[in-house]
Assembly symmetry: C2
């Protein structure tokens, strides 16, 4: 059975018949109708993963924050702005077999969205205090569901990359985490190349050395599919 | 002399031989290496003004925040991120004959930029307080210089548009202000069309009804050039 299942994978695509949910890009957290908090994620890595997953036969739902990227072929795209919207769109897309959370979701949002553009007081040089509250944790929320998918997280860090990534993997009960050093300008946010390390719950790590995001995405999808099938056949 | 000067304008272009400095787009104020505060300005109106000014013979310097727009022909473009950077780039481009400040400059920036990505504390659901300080006022700074150019401001508001725009015109000692209702989704930020009202220091207002940003830009440049020449010939 294992041999025929594996052979079937290669004939019809590694993830044929599987539904994979991928998040990508930044989120945008409104301060008022004009201003917002966001981050430098370009969405390129998540879009490359969606394209690579579709190539190997998966049914792909791509939930993405505001990005300037074309939708890959055979991918269902859902555009959102805030982290709360992204969680709602992911919940609406469930169930799925695999989840790859590549979006750079804002940890915090302004406590309230001002209904009109905040005015500075022209008589003073006073500053402003912006009170932020925690956003929901999309990956932890989905990985805690009864219909939990195979969960792959991303950790984008500027220091202590492997330690932070391992802690996130264990805290959120993930199957794999992809650690991404965004302090290096040749890889990471908005660059064309990437170089990542994948860590599993046994804290084994696998390094994918610098290559285009398209090539890294195909290698990651092959690696993720192999781990997924190892658990599910 | 007036007749020959006016005739010269039409032969060689309304702003031939004049240096015009135009700011465009949002600014981006870093919170840490990953996160920032910004706004929804697309830069389209400022870029359309730069193109229209170059068409009538001006030497154009376009200082712009992060936008996804091609540089118009015969325009010198300077890319910046923060309001402080934008002020420095404008000061470096001085002197100029006319200044059109179309950028949506952030009024506030985080008091300090964290050198590494801020970590949320996984043990708590605590919020975060972001202390913001006032940014320099680019338009007021340039209009207070001894080599003050003819100064045109923009007011993008979601309410009390004409009142706020008039106050800004007078507070900053401008020659003209362009009032832009960004609450209307068919015009304003990131739309293709615009509709604006120009106010002068005598509080006369001139309305430019809804049209493409390219057409509004040509009309505005013609109007601004007429007022500039009225003062300078």
């Amino acid at each position: 059975a294992l041999v025929s299942a594996a052979a079937g994978c290669f004939q019809t695509g590694l993830l044929s018949g599987r539904h994979i949910l991928i998040t990508a890009g930044p989120t945008q957290e409104a301060i008022d109708p004009v201003r917002y908090i966001s981050n430098h994620s370009s969405g390129k890595m998540g879009f490359a993963l969606a394209e690579a997953a579709a190539e190997v036969g998966a049914r792909v739902t791509l939930v993405c924050g505001p990005v300037h990227l074309p939708t890959p072929d055979r991918v269902t795209r859902v555009d959102v702005l805030s982290a709360c919207d992204m969680l709602a769109a992911c919940e609406a897309a469930m169930p799925c077999d695999l989840l790859i959370a590549a979006a750079a979701v804002a940890d915090y949002r302004p406590e309230a969205i001002a209904p009109h553009k905040l005015k500075k007081n022209p008589g003073t040089e006073d500053g402003l205090v912006l009170q932020l509250v925690r956003n929901p944790d999309i990956l932890a929320t989905l990985s805690a569901r009864p219909d939990r998918p195979f969960c792959v997280g991303f950790a984008a860090e500027t220091q202590n990359l492997i330690a932070y990534a391992t802690r996130k993997l264990l805290d959120k009960n993930l199957d794999l985490i992809v650690a991404n050093d965004v302090a290096d300008p040749s890889i990471g946010f908005n660059s064309e190349d990437n170089s990542v390390t994948v860590i599993d719950p046994q804290q084994h790590s696998t390094r994918f050395s610098q290559a285009s995001k398209g090539l890294i995405a195909r290698q990651l999808i092959a690696f993720i599919a192999a781990r997924y099938h190892h658990l599910h056949i």
